[in-house]
Each structure stands twice: as C-alpha cells, then as structure tokens.
C-alpha cells in the first residue's frame, strides 16, 4: 500500500495507508495512551482513552481541492470539530496530529477519572499491581484527585470463577472487551460476552463448562487491569519480585517461547515471551499452567538401585558404575545387545549425547524415540526434506496463502497453531481442513472436508494425482527425482476409486487442488493421524509439495505436528533405528528372543498400557539390565535395575527443535530439587566408565568425537560442528533477537503484562533438504493403505490426540480437573444400533483383546467410526495402529 505522510507532534511520519494513528505514532515513539486497543486485536474505540486532536487539510466543497492559506500551506481544520479516537482513525495525507494539547490532556484526565469511579483501587491486593496499564496510565496521564465520592463505588462480589483456572473480579473490570475480542477474533472460541447495562455491565462466560477455551490464560495477560487473574498465579508473589528466565515449552511441537518467573528458586508463573515466528505473544493454557509438575513432591530425586528385589536409594557414583558395568558387559557380548529409548521431548544436546552413547560406546543401532507401542507413529522424514522453507513466518501470511490441514486435530495436537492458522485466515488467506472427524479448527475454516475414516492415504493419493495433472501443464522443476515412477504408479490407481474410498466428490477435491496450485504461498499441515497411517500419507503429501515446487522457499512446504516437542530434532540427530537396528516396537520380541539384553530408557514409560512392552522389559530386567531415567516413578521404572532422576525443563538448559525446524534455547530457571545431572552429562559419565573395547576400525571412523564436555553449550557446539544440518546453531546465534510488532521502549506503559519482550533470542531455523538450492528432491511412491471394517469387527477405532491427556505433566496443575477421562465417542446411529446411551459403559473388542470404557455419543462421528481419545487410562493396548477394527457392545 502507498505510504501516507502526516505529522504527529511535530514528527514527520510516513506509514502505509490504513494504519491507525496509535500505531503511526508508535513509529516515532509518541505514546498515545490506550486501554481497549491492542496491536494484536482489531480496534473498537471503546475506552476513549486515545482521544487526540486531528487536523486535516480543509477541502473546498465546490472544487474538491485543498484550500491553501495565505502562507501557501494547506489550511487545517479540526476533524469533525471534536477530539478523535486515535485507534479507529486511519491516517490520511497531510494530517496534523497533536497528542499533548490542553484539550487532549483534559479528555485523558476525564476518561481516567471516570474509569476510576468504579474501580476498587485495591492495588495492594491485586495480582496485576506492578504491571497494570491502569496504574501506569493513571500515574502518567491521570488526574491527581477525583471529584467523586470514594464510598460510592460500584461493588460486586469478589472474584467469581469463570472456569477452574480463570477468576473474574468484576469491580476491577473497565469493560475494554480485550478478552471478548481475543476469544472471538484470535482464539475462535466465542465463550465470553457482555451482560446487563450501565453500572451492572459485566463480562460473563457463555459456555458450559465456564470459559471453555484452551487459550483462556491469554486474556489475563491482555487484561489492562486485574479483572481476570489465573488460578495458577493468584497471590503467589508480586510481579516485580520474580526473576524471569527465557525458556521453551515442551508440551507440543510448536515450541512456544516462555518466560519462567521464579522467586526464591520456586516457579511462580509461566508467561509467554513474544516471538513472531512461533507464538506471537500467546500461550495455551497447557503451556501456562502445565509446569507445576516441576515442583511435585513425587519427583524421583535420588538414584535408586535394585537390591534384593527392591529399589533403594544409592549414590550417583554407585548407580552410574552399576549401569556402566552392566551395559558394558552386555555390549561386549555382541553388537545390538544394548538398546536405547529416549523421549522426543528431550533437548537436542541430550538426544545427541544419547545417540553417541548407544551407537559409539555401546556399538548398537537399536535406538528410538518412540515408546514401542501400537500408538507409535511412523518415522517421518518428509518435514526434513520438504518442510516449510527457511524464513517462514506464518504471521506475515495472508492473502494468496493456502494452508491445507490434513488428518490433524490442530487444537489438540499443537494448540497454538490454531491461533496462527486462524490469523492467516483473518488476514485473507485460506485454511482448508481435511479430516476424518470434526475438529475445532475445521468448524471455522475456509472449507472443512470430512473424509471416510481410514481413507487418509487414498485421499492423499487422489490429491497428488490431481496436483501432478495440474502441474504437468507448467512443467516440473529440475531438482525433482523419481517423477516418472511416481506418475506411472499413480496412473495404475483409479481416481474414482480413490475418491469413492475417501467419500469426497471430484469437484470438491479439484477445488482444493486449484486453491493449492494457484496460491502464492502454500503450506500443508498434517498431524498425528497422518503420521500414524504412515508414509502413504506423509510422503504422498511431500510428493505434492516437491512436484509443485511449493517447498524449499519461505512460507511454503510441510509442517508436521509431531507428538514430542523435539521429534524433528530426534529425527535429525539420529535418535532412530539405524542400519540393522531394531525400532522400539521390535525391542520386545528381541528381548524375548534373547538378542536384546540391555536397555536404557530416558523420559519414556513404554510399559504403560502396553503388555507386550511390560513383558519385554521384565525379561530384559531379569536376564539383562534395564536402566531408566525418569522424573516420576512409573511402570517402567518399577521394573528397572537402576532408576536415575531426570531434570525438568526448568532446571536444565539446552536447545529444542520445533515443528518448523526452529532451534530455540531454554535456560535454567530454578535449581533441581536435589543433586542431579543433565542427561548429556550422564551419557558422558557412562561413556567414560565404559569398558567396551571399540574396534580400531570403528574408532577411526567415529564421527561424533570425544566426550570432553563441561557445560551444555559444549555439546551444542559439537552438534553444530558434526551434524551438517545444525551448522551455525550455537548459543550465540540462538540468542539474537528481533523486536516483534515494532515494540517501542516506552510501550510497557500500556501493553504491560501482555507478554514479555523477547531479548533472549528468536532461534534459528535449520535447513530442510529443499532449502539447499541444488539438492535433488526425490519423490517416492507409497501405495495407499486401506482400513476397512470387516467380519465381526465392524467398526473402525481411531485414537485422536487430546491436549489434556492426563499425563504426568498435569501433576499438581490447576488443569488437573479438566483432564479428559478415558472414553469412546460413537455415532448416534451406532449407539441406536446397540442400544447404547450416553454415559453407558461399553465393551470394546479388538483382535487383541477387550476392555470396558464409558461411551459418549457424538453426532459429528460418522457411522462405523469410533474415537477413543489417547488419554491416560484409555485401553490403547487394544489398538493395532492408526485404525483398528473393533466391535462394540453395551457392557452388562
């Protein structure tokens, strides 16, 4: 848009047309006070705090020309002959704006005096005190005294619970509607609203249960007063007493930037830290309130070793010696006898060191980051090949952008992506959702296609077929490999059959393909179901991105919503089964066969809900050696020979790689509850104590170097040197920051408490294969797989993700009351068929067993489809993969 020139308080300003005066003034560091306006929200002009004098050139009504004064300059006229609200007044050419005149000051004092007539002024008690825009603005712009009777304030009952985590204090509320607009426009959960009028005007929650949103915590940030407070931080500390440490959230693959606020070595609250490339200034409730497990009294704090069948506390030295001597002995018997399992939410450093320990010290390629259950997803390298290009910023995307979300429930898998994808849609882009069940993102998306359960790969194949047809007209990039093979194979598939399997019409798919092909920026997002079905979906979608050249450049490519916070890092750093190595779900058979005798498990609980794994682990513990590093005692740890305590994210430092391959650094916020070592250091200790003789030939080819680490950054640097993809990713480069939304130095005054300025680094995006300009991009054909119900098992069971899954992260969290209980969702027709009522217990029978769970009836579930959320306590051992054929009966 063309730039418009105007003058604000004597400063010449040139900003794009359409900019409002508050934002225009910010560019020259003129602060116009605001309450209801927020740069991330649409302006509404409700609070009248931003009233200013605006002069525009006088226009002669007859000639439509600017009237010039005797001095040759345009004559100015006060706009509308009144003060104008700056937040809803767009800039225009030749405007002259005055923000500090007596008239403006009079208005500002008046507005503040009025706001304070019904504000209780209980600042000493209020949690917002200290970062409260109302306090700040009153100090800077407010009147010294009030003419109103102090005892005639409006009073409401003190805090009412909007939900279990958000409290509303109505008398503090200044009715700016920031919270309502955030929920409506940004989060897409319209659960807040206004009620009554006049002095009884108040914010209410319209949902049941109250304030039913995964983003409710953000409203407490943007609330310009202390009306909304969150249960997690209520009265824990004053905001100026906390020490903030930059960190990263490990609850999902978004990698939201956090600020961990601690006082006296105790975590007080978790706040979002702004990073426009990741979480803007938002944070979901899981990230905000799911960090209390750190201070749980149930943490494992000392190493435990098994003596006479019981786990007893031991010294670190004893425990490490025991692990090392046992694993060394087992490793010396032959390669592959030792295996390693590590959580894909661990840091890059821990993953790297662990891989080095298992592959180089213990000479094994049996290494995995999945727990070895039927819920394991396939190893998916597509994002490392055709993931969104370097420099991608979803915040910059709008018109001309097509995002296709395939087989993902974004709100449950990676909540923050809902806000970011909705943002693209709000700015004029299109978000198309394709899924086998209804999702929250889909309900507000540009299009929401429901495909038949189990037909994801057929749909992907049909999509690719049409994409290749469309692309053939434009020709293909020279970097594309295997194109002919893929086309030949695809030609053997009938588009009609594929579409019939998926249950969508050709016109419907064609529309989506057209949207994809014509988009300037095209992104494909896929989630758990896609990865669970496997390469037939993920590789096929990657093929589409490669063939059309919609990868390898900024804002184009794939985004995979992975299960762990660092799955991308685990894949890139090689914590995955290598050549001749077993994958996690093969470990248990190997254990029974006696070819796997030593296992080290870090941060995972494979025995949970998985009888095969429990048996395998017991066999390993009995005939070999099982070492477990964990934060909480769990079923796997109960079987172990040695249990080591694990550090929480807040207690250690390192880097994490998010779904968009952005490596970000987190730091130590609080000290561990007892003397503990980070996992990379434990690996180094074990390697030093190892007695395994490394063959000379192997020693020469050892790629990962020695174990000379003193601090975490030593590992980071080694990763940067030895893993090509991570080249240049050091603490120095990770710490570079850029200011978001043009935040100015003086702005904390009125955006205080909204989030933290990011001065500690925006992270570095590592390159995908497609980002290298000359790298050949191989396509690969993977035949679609079909899941069809048959015989006695006439229903298809799917295990969708739930954010509130009741995992160990919810320990001591205020969110523990909203964790999803184990249940199944069935369609009304299936319910009628087997005479099941909502809440009845049903027996699920799959080829591998039966179990009983309560049922809910959901009209959005298709006939023949059963959803069993992947939550703690759900009988997931009944499943055989992405889809399982089951039968359902009402339990007697």
């Amino acid at each position: 848009m063309p730039d418009v020139n105007l003058i604000i308080d004597g400063h010449a300003v040139s900003v794009p047309a359409g900019t409002n005066l508050v934002d225009a003034a910010r560019t020259v560091e003129v602060a116009i006070p605001v309450f209801c306006y927020h740069p991330k929200l649409k302006p509404v002009g409700m609070c009248r705090m931003c009233l200013i004098e605006v002069y525009t050139p006088r226009i002669d009504p007859a000639t439509r020309q600017v009237v010039l004064g005797p001095d040759g300059l345009p004559q100015l006229a006060l706009m509308m002959n009144k003060l104008q609200p700056a937040c809803v007044t767009p800039v225009s050419e030749g405007m002259v704006v005055k923000t500090t005149t007596e008239k403006v000051k009079f208005a500002q004092r008046g507005v503040l005096e009025f706001l304070l007539t019904s504000h209780p002024l209980d600042c000493p008690v209020c949690d917002k005190g200290g970062e409260c825009p109302l306090q700040n603005l009153t100090m800077q712009w407010g009147p010294e005294v009030s003419r109103f009777d102090y005892s005639d304030k409006v009073h409401f009952e003190k805090p009412i619970k909007l939900s279990d985590v958000i409290y509303l204090d109505r008398e503090r509320c200044i009715l700016c509607s920031r919270c309502v607009r955030f929920q409506d426009d940004i989060a897409g959960d319209s659960v807040l609203g206004f009620d009554n009028r006049g002095r009884s005007w108040e914010i209410i929650s319209k949902s049941e249960p109250g304030f039913d949103s995964k983003f409710s915590g953000n409203t407490t940030d943007i609330c310009p007063v202390g009306a909304l407070t969150n249960a997690d931080f209520r009265f824990r500390s004053r905001v100026w007493e906390v020490r903030s440490t930059p960190s990263i959230c490990t609850h999902c693959s978004v990698g939201c930037n956090l600020s961990l606020d601690a006082r006296h070595n105790q975590l007080m609250r978790v706040m979002p830290r702004e990073n426009d490339d990741v979480n803007e200034i938002w944070l979901c409730d899981k990230g905000r309130m799911g960090m209390r497990f750190v201070e749980s009294a149930n943490r494992v704090t000392t190493p435990l070793v098994r003596q006479h069948g019981k786990l007893v506390p031991a010294s670190w030295d004893e425990a490490l010696t025991r692990i090392s001597s046992n694993l060394s002995q087992i490793a010396a018997k032959g390669t592959g006898q030792v295996a390693g399992l590590m959580s894909d939410s661990a840091s890059n450093e821990d993953l790297y060191a662990f891989r080095k320990l298992i592959t180089e010290t213990y000479q094994s390629t049996s290494l995995d980051h999945r727990p070895g259950a039927s819920t394991d997803v396939a190893l998916d390298d597509a994002p490392l090949t055709a993931g969104v290009g370097k420099g991608t910023s979803l915040l910059a995307l709008g018109k001309g952008t097509t995002v296709i979300v395939v087989a993902a429930d974004v709100e449950e898998e990676a909540p923050l992506y809902v806000l970011r994808l909705r943002g693209i849609q709000n700015r004029g882009g299109a978000v198309h959702v394709v899924n086998s069940f209804a999702t929250k993102l889909g309900s507000g998306a540009s299009s929401d296609t429901r495909i038949a359960a189990g037909s994801e790969s057929a749909y992907a194949a049909a999509f690719l077929k049409l994409v290749l047809e469309a692309q053939a007209a434009n020709g293909f990039d020279r970097r594309v490999r295997n194109l002919d093979d893929v086309r030949n194979q695809l030609n053997k598939l009938s588009i009609d059959t594929l579409l019939e399997t998926a249950g969508v019409s050709r016109a419907q798919l064609q529309k989506l393909v057209d949207a994809y092909m014509t988009a300037t920026n095209a992104i494909i997002v896929y989630g758990r179901t896609a990865q669970h079905v496997g390469a037939s979906v993920t590789q096929t979608l990657a093929n589409a991105a490669i063939a059309t050249g919609k990868c390898g450049k900024a804002n184009n490519g794939l985004i995979a919503l992975t299960a762990g916070a660092n799955t991308t890092g685990a894949l890139a750093l090689g914590v995955r089964p290598g050549k001749d190595g077993a994958a996690a779900n093969e470990f248990w058979a190997r254990a029974e066969a006696g070819t796997l005798r030593g296992l080290m498990v870090v941060g995972l609980d494979p025995a949970n809900n998985n009888p095969a794994a429990a048996e395998g682990l017991a066999t390993i513990a009995k005939h070999g050696f099982l070492a477990v590093q964990t934060m909480f005692m769990n079923e796997t740890a109960e079987l172990a020979d040695v249990v080591l305590p694990q550090m929480a994210i807040a207690e250690t430092d390192g880097t994490l790689t998010n779904a968009e391959r952005r490596v970000q650094r987190f730091r130590i916020a609080v000290a561990a509850p007892a003397a503990m070592h980070p996992t990379w250091q434990i690996c180094a200790y074990l390697a030093e104590r190892s007695t395994v003789a490394v063959p000379a030939s192997k020693n020469a080819t050892a790629v990962l170097g020695d174990w000379e680490y003193a601090v975490t950054s030593d590992v980071t640097e080694e990763v940067a040197q030895r893993i090509p993809r991570f080249g240049g990713v050091t603490y120095t480069s990770l710490d570079l920051s850029i200011n978001s939304w043009g935040r100015q130095a003086n702005e904390s005054v009125y955006y205080d408490g909204t989030s933290y300025t990011n001065t500690e680094g925006n992270g570095v995006q590592i390159a995908a294969l497609a980002d290298e300009p000359t790298a050949p991009l191989p396509m690969a054909f993977v035949a679609p797989v079909a899941f069809e119900p048959k015989g006695e098992f006439g229903l298809l069971l799917q295990t969708p993700v739930r954010a509130y899954n009741g995992g160990s992260w919810s320990t001591d969290s205020k969110l523990s009351t909203v964790q999803v209980p184990a249940h199944v969702l069935i369609s009304p027709s299936d319910a009628a068929r087997w005479n099941i009522n909502a809440g009845d217990r049903v027996t699920i029978a799959s080829p591998v067993g039966t179990s009983t769970v309560p049922a809910q009836i959901d009209k959005n579930v298709a006939t023949g489809h059963v959803l069993m959320p992947d939550v703690a306590g759900a009988p997931l051992h009944l499943t055989l993969g992405a889809y399982t054929r089951v039968a359902i009966r009402r339990a007697e």
Binding site: L121, D122, P124, V125, G129, V154, H155, K158, F235, E241
Partner: protein, 165 residues
C-alpha cells in the same frame, strides 16, 4: 604548651559540677522521642484481624532488602486479614534493617510501624530474623476499623443509587 593543658583540664573540671547526661542503663532507661524508629511491629484491626494484606510494598520500599513477604490467598471461611490476600510469611532481618521507616511509609494499611523498642541483640545471625509470630501484636491490641476497600469480599452488588427527587 602548659596553657593548652590547663585549658583542657579546665573543661573537665567544669563538668564535675554539672548534671551528668549519662544514665545508669540498663537499670535506668531513657524515654525515646515519640517518632523514634525502633523495632517493627505488625498491627491488627480492632476486630483482631491482621492489618497486613501481604502486598509486599514494604519489601519493595526497603532499601536494604531486609523484608520478606510470601503472600497467600485467605480462606474466606477463616480469613487472617481483610480482603483476599494475606502474608503467609513475614520476616524482617534485623541485622539488615537500617530503621529508615520506608516500610511504614509504603504500607497501605498501617500494618507495619516502627516502635520504641531498641534493645536488639542476638547471639547468632539466624535469630536476627524476626518472623510474623514475633512481630504481630496480641490479638486484643488492635485498633481502627477495616477500610471499605478491603471489605468487599463476598459483598453483594451495590444497591441502585438513591436519587432524591
């Protein structure tokens, strides 16, 4: 030389006949001024509730970082102080305190006052930390009514304004 010596002795001699300024402490104690700043105390309201609402402003004002306040939420059924918040822990390190009285100035409820007690000595550093139980005055020694701003807990909405016609 000798002149200066005599002059000095002369002064000493003069004071022999004046009333001494010293007192026989500790048998005899001097009365301090009304505004003397001695050991702190935490006051109560007339009804026995703690005046301290745990706002930490004293700690923020303290130039020597001698005060620690850990706030918590009042149990509405059995509140320690008026309002939602109270000080679960309140500690003053008397070795750090410089008795400047800024805490008194910062306190919005006159909960902390510096009193006339000046006999502070300790055998070890730990005992120099005065906690809430040592600082709080007895429950029947409170004074003053709770200000309206702190009595809003569980209060019903205001009645409609009465207009005299």
């Amino acid at each position: 030389m000798l002149g200066a010596f005599l002059k000095g002795l002369g002064t000493t001699f003069k004071y022999l006949f004046k009333k001494p300024v010293t007192v026989q402490y500790p048998e005899e104690k001097r009365v301090v001024h009304e505004r003397f700043r001695g050991r702190h105390q935490l006051n109560r309201f007339q009804n026995g509730m703690e005046r301290c609402i745990g706002c930490s402003l004293c700690a923020a004002a303290c130039p020597s970082d001698a005060i620690l306040v850990v706030p918590a939420e009042n149990d509405p059924a059995k509140p320690n102080s008026p309002g939602e918040r109270y000080a679960a822990r309140y500690e003053i390190n008397m070795l750090r305190c410089i008795f400047c009285g800024y805490c008194e100035d910062a306190c919005p409820t006159n909960a902390i006052t510096l009193e006339h007690q000046y006999e502070l000595s300790f055998y070890d550093r730990k005992s120099a930390i005065y906690d809430k139980s040592m600082l709080l005055i007895p429950i029947d020694k409170g004074h003053g009514e709770i200000p309206p701003v702190l009595t809003q807990l569980n209060r019903r909405p205001s009645p409609p304004a009465q207009i005299d016609l």
